[in-house]
């Protein structure tokens, strides 16, 4: 007999690594996300007692799937509400008769792509897509997701259940989009993953530890999608982008939580492993010549990663990449980012002209980075008054305290 904590540890690890795969396989055979989740939860509870008595089965995942399916058959038979799922029941019973020994190795079909496309369906609210993806593919608990979004667990539980309800009642299909819609749907999936990453990366609010887990989770999700869709260059691009960004995680804040800008980060502490993996992936991807926004942003991040310091950064190349990005994605946000590169590659005046060309766009109303960028440009030009005014605006618009404090210090230096 194994000590209880060992079993719990084993189960936690399985949940961590295999939850998404097991759940996806169950949804594929049961046909209902909520039911699949319920019976998997039941199976996990049963595992806790059974495995303690009998030891770990040869394939814990196969054991969980078989046990969960049996639970589903029970529920189907007992509950008339599942009458409409008759075909699924027949299919399940058939599967059941094939698997007479739960200890046997079972080939678990990988249905995680179907699951992620379902969870990121555009007919669901954006926040629900994110929460659902974290719950079903990441195996995060409702409490963990609530904590990450500073929601009450109850509110998050309601959101998740509403979303699952819609999937089931509105007939959101558990399948991959057809070719005509694939790119658009894929871009929704990728933006969900990138949102999760940014929530973790910018640590804009909430518990920092949970937040960093989100960045890891996003990378893990991108790895899954990349492994299942290796030909999609933007998936690889996003994975490379996140790896490269994440390589700087340890240096972005000092011990007291103060923000350290890229220019002042200790580059020797950047994660070499992530930089190597990110750049290697990016190179092989760019060679396929199907460039997209994520790949370009990854390329910009790679230039920073390869530069030994801020001054020797190849700003001309960065500016050129932003120009390319703007041609694919003509947004004012791109121009704001580009202005910094332009100020070093060409001149501060040119950078200010670039900002002036977009500052009246709707998207720029209350857009903090615009003011922060312009304050920096004015300061470098020696236009103290203008810099102070923009800094004050930027502080007011800051979404997190680390950012506000960083700018406040800058402001105080200027005013002294």
């Amino acid at each position: 007999m194994l000590p209880p904590f060992k079993i719990e540890q084993a189960i936690n690890q399985i949940v961590r690594e295999e939850w998404g795969r097991i759940l996806a396989a169950l949804v594929a055979s049961i046909g209902d996300l909520q039911l699949a989740e319920d019976v998997l939860q039941d199976a996990l509870e049963q595992a806790l007692t059974t495995w303690q008595k009998q030891g770990l089965p040869k394939s814990p995942s196969a054991w969980l799937i078989t046990t969960a399916r049996r639970r589903a058959i029970d529920k189907f038979r007992r509950d008339s509400r599942f009458a409409k799922l008759q075909p699924e029941l027949t299919y399940l019973v058939e599967l059941e008769s094939q698997a007479d020994n739960t200890d046997e190795e079972m080939i678990i079909p990988d249905k995680r792509l179907e699951l992620i496309f379902t969870c990121c369906h555009p007919a669901l609210e954006e926040k629900s897509r994110i929460a659902l993806t974290l719950r079903t593919l990441g195996g995060l608990s409702t409490e963990e997701i609530a904590k990450a979004f500073l929601d009450k667990p109850k509110t998050m539980a309601q959101r998740l259940s509403r979303a699952k309800n819609k999937i089931s009642l509105a007939g959101i299909p558990f399948k991959l989009p057809d070719d005509a819609h694939l790119q658009q749907r894929l871009s929704t999936v990728l933006s969900v993953i990138y949102f999760i990453f940014n929530e973790g990366y910018t640590a804009s609010s909430g518990n920092r530890i949970v937040r960093e887990d989100l960045a890891e989770e996003a990378i893990r999700l991108a790895r899954i999608v990349h492994s299942l869709m290796p030909v999609q260059t933007e998936v690889a691009g996003l994975l490379a982008l996140m790896l490269l960004h994440d390589s700087r995680r340890q240096t972005r804040m000092d011990h007291s939580g103060n923000m350290i800008p890229l220019a002042e980060q200790n580059r020797s502490k950047w994660s070499e492993a992530k930089i190597v993996e990110g750049t290697r992936l990016l190179k092989t991807t760019l060679a396929k010549q199907q460039v997209g926004p994520y790949q370009i942003q990854a390329a910009i991040s790679a230039i920073h990663a390869e530069s030994s310091d801020w001054e020797s950064t190849d700003w001309r190349q960065i500016s050129a990449f932003y120009e390319l990005l703007y041609s694919l994605q003509p947004s004012a946000v791109v121009r704001v980012n580009q202005s910094i590169a332009v100020s070093y590659a060409h001149s501060i005046e040119e950078a200010l002209t670039l900002l002036a060309s977009v500052e009246n766009e709707d998207a720029m109303l209350g857009y903090q980075p615009l003011y922060a960028a312009r304050a920096d440009l004015y300061q470098r030009l020696g236009k103290r008054e203008e810099a102070i005014a923009d800094l004050q605006q930027a502080i007011e618009l800051s979404e997190n305290s680390a950012q506000a404090e960083f700018l406040q210090t800058k402001l105080e230096l200027l005013q002294s």
Binding site: A83, K84, H121, A123, L169, A170, G171, I172, P173, K175, P177, H181
Partner: protein, 116 residues
């Protein structure tokens, strides 16, 4: 599954009768309805008289109360519907997007509840 596509648009949006655009607009509706029929997806579909002709009815203590006008006084009003048979929401969305009014109005897609 059955879905209802509720067609909403503002009174002043879209081609008005008597303008050169109106003919092709009606033609597009005919073509769309034919497409639904050919695919075996059409259950029912109708255009409605304008919202100004609507009467909203309720019952207060057994007495019938009526108000002139639609239930909700919004800019966009219900102008028609299609009831369609589809495999999934994806298919329903695909059809809804082909409704000519989707160009200037909005289509609400709702699954029909079944009791079994």
């Amino acid at each position: 599954m059955q879905y209802i596509c509720l067609i909403y648009s503002a009174a002043d949006a879209g081609p008005a009768p008597g303008t050169p655009e109106f003919g092709p607009y009606m033609q597009a509706y005919q073509e769309f309805t034919t497409l639904l029929k050919e695919k075996g997806a059409l259950v029912a579909g109708d255009a409605l008289q304008p919202a100004t002709t609507a009467t909203t009815v309720t019952r207060e203590n057994g007495a019938i109360e009526t108000t002139d006008g639609p239930f909700a006084e919004t800019k966009e009003q219900l102008g028609g519907y299609y009831l369609i048979e589809c495999d999934s929401l994806d298919e329903a969305i695909e059809y809804a997007a082909k409704i000519p009014t989707a160009e200037h109005g909005r289509i609400e897609v709702r699954p029909i509840m079944t009791f079994d």
